[in-house]
Amino acid sequence: MGMEGKCKARFERASDQSLLVYFGQKITVQANEQARRLLRLLELVPIAGVRNLHPAYCSLLVKFDPLKLRYEELEEQLNGLLRRSEEIELPQPREVEIPVCYGGEFGPDLDDVAALRGIAPRRVIELHSSRSYLVYFLGFVPGFAYLGELPEALVTPRLATPRKRVPAGSVGIAGNQTGVYPFATPGGWRLLGRTPVSMFRTDREGLSLVSIGDRVRFVPVSQERFAELGRA
């Protein structure tokens, strides 16, 4: 990565056992790449006393054991790693195709999104499946990938009142993001369709279908194909 768009890291205490490293305050691919680089470095060169890492759009939360590591020491060690940020190779991103059956009972908000944006429901499907999305990070619940960014014509605010239960596999959009609900959970994203593929499985290497930094493309499938894939 070149130096353009590179932000200086800023540290902020989040709690007495966690520290936030910010790479800017906006969702950009560059800031996200810097967060992924620091995550990768901490995986390759672990700091003793660091317990957990929570990457996000343009930040990384570092959780540590305050009995083993003082905040000041952690900051110093992180600064050391950040100086090596450009040296490391990020894992090769995988291209993951996710089959989606759009509309109907699987995508109860498809028609509303089309109406809100003044386009045909068919066009919503075309646009949503027209590009590959970056996995900015996994968060919220196990295997929930924050994907972006959506074609401008699909950008829609989240529902005013979240659903109490969104079925597992539901594919939704919110703002300029899209994602798949791995489990039946509450959720406020507008639902366009559903995938029969499990996003998170305990019997699979790596557990989550996609990892941070991967690329995802949605592939429209028929109800028949959905049922076939679901049985596989």
Binding site: E12, R13, A14, S15, D16, Q17, S18, L20, Q25, K26, I27, L39, R51, N52, L53, H54, P55, A56, Y57, C58, S59, L60, L61, K63, P66, L67, Y71, F137, L138, G139, F140, V141, P142, G143, F144, Y146, P182, F183, T185, F200, T202, L207, S208, S211, I212
Partner: protein, 330 residues
């Protein structure tokens, strides 16, 4: 092979240990006991490693039978527990003979009671932990709360149980209990000590005064993911865009409408609300004993105090005199 048979599960009973740290990049939250101090002490009372899996009960406990007997300890809140109809003491270990029934009632104090059994509970670990994460249905016993008729195996957790001093000395195993002084010092607090959150400067002085000057009531819809609070709204001032970021255990986020939510053990790993404060590590176990309608307040402490209080608490938990042989009741 010893077993515990669930005759009735109670309101919400799950298998918990000290949780799974290190899987934030997958979106997996740590889970683990809501009151880890009680779990750790309970395990020590029965001679387990502190992190052994136990049963966490919520507000109303269950009824359990031990076909082969067991050595057990109860910690946390007083659920009016009886063994074959006779009351048993909290914070002490005792023997359950084969076939006996242990019955828990509704709470008489805080939200959670722990049933720790010698050897721990034998469930298949998920990412290194036996803890149940209810929202995703992962970990614990089939990823869910216990039901009537469930049978769990005991005593093969792979975690070495330390010999109890009385057993090692060849004496008849006696009861052990938590030292009274330690119990007082570790009692759950209703005044939660906090440090500033990462967006605390988004809240103007007037909002800070409301937050630190008001008492808040724990709402009914609170759970292991988060404690929702009712009370005076906390307005945000003008600020930049809030971009979703990693959130820490005990973070006090201010949701739409100005109402605080404290993120708890089954928390989402990232979130998009501003955080005004964060409960200090030493007071996190107190959150596990808060019941709906409890009144709480927040008290601001500095970083050094937060660290000192934690070091003192951990020193107490590691101390020799924490647990004593209780010959008087044997």
């Amino acid at each position: 092979m010893s077993e515990i048979v669930v005759l009735s599960p109670g309101l919400l009973t799950t298998v918990q240990d000290l949780g799974r740290e290190g899987f934030g990049p997958l979106g997996v939250s740590p889970s683990g006991a809501a009151d880890p101090v009680s779990l750790r002490i309970g395990n020590r009372l029965v001679g387990n490693a502190e992190s052994a899996p136990a049963l966490e009960m919520t507000l109303l406990g269950g009824t359990f039978q031990f076909p082969q007997g067991a050595k057990v300890a109860l910690t946390g809140s007083d659920f009016g527990v009886t063994l074959e109809g006779a009351p048993v003491q909290l914070w002490s270990s005792f023997e359950v003979r084969p076939g006996q029934i242990l019955r828990f009632g509704p709470t008489r104090s805080g939200a959670r009671c722990y049933l720790c059994m010698r050897g721990g509970i034998d469930v298949k670990p998920f990412l290194g932990s036996a803890s149940t994460h209810l929202l995703s249905g992962l970990g614990g016993h089939e990823g869910r709360a216990l039901r009537k008729g469930d049978v769990l195996k005991l005593g093969r957790t792979g975690i070495p149980a330390c010999p109890l001093p009385s057993e090692a000395a060849g004496k008849v195993p006696c009861l052990r209990r938590l030292a009274t002084k330690a119990r007082e010092r570790l009692a759950p607090r209703k005044v939660l000590r906090v440090t500033p959150g990462p967006q605390s400067d988004w809240f103007p002085e007037a909002s800070q005064q409301i937050f630190y000057g008001s008492s808040y009531r724990v709402a009914e819809e609170s759970n292991r993911m988060g404690l929702r609070l009712e009370g005076p709204a906390i307005p945000e001032g003008a600020h930049g865009e809030m971009v979703s970021e990693g959130v820490s255990l005990g973070a006090v986020q201010i949701a739409a409408g100005g109402h605080p939510i404290i993120l708890f053990v089954d928390q989402q790993t990232t979130g998009g609300y501003a955080k005004i404060a964060n409960v200090i590590s030493a007071d996190l176990h107190s959150l596990g004993q808060l019941r709906p309608r409890d009144e709480i307040r927040f008290e601001r402490v500095n970083w050094e105090s937060a660290r000192r209080i934690l070091i003192e608490q951990e020193g107490l938990l590691a101390s020799e005199g924490l647990i004593v042989d209780d010959l008087s009741v044997a």
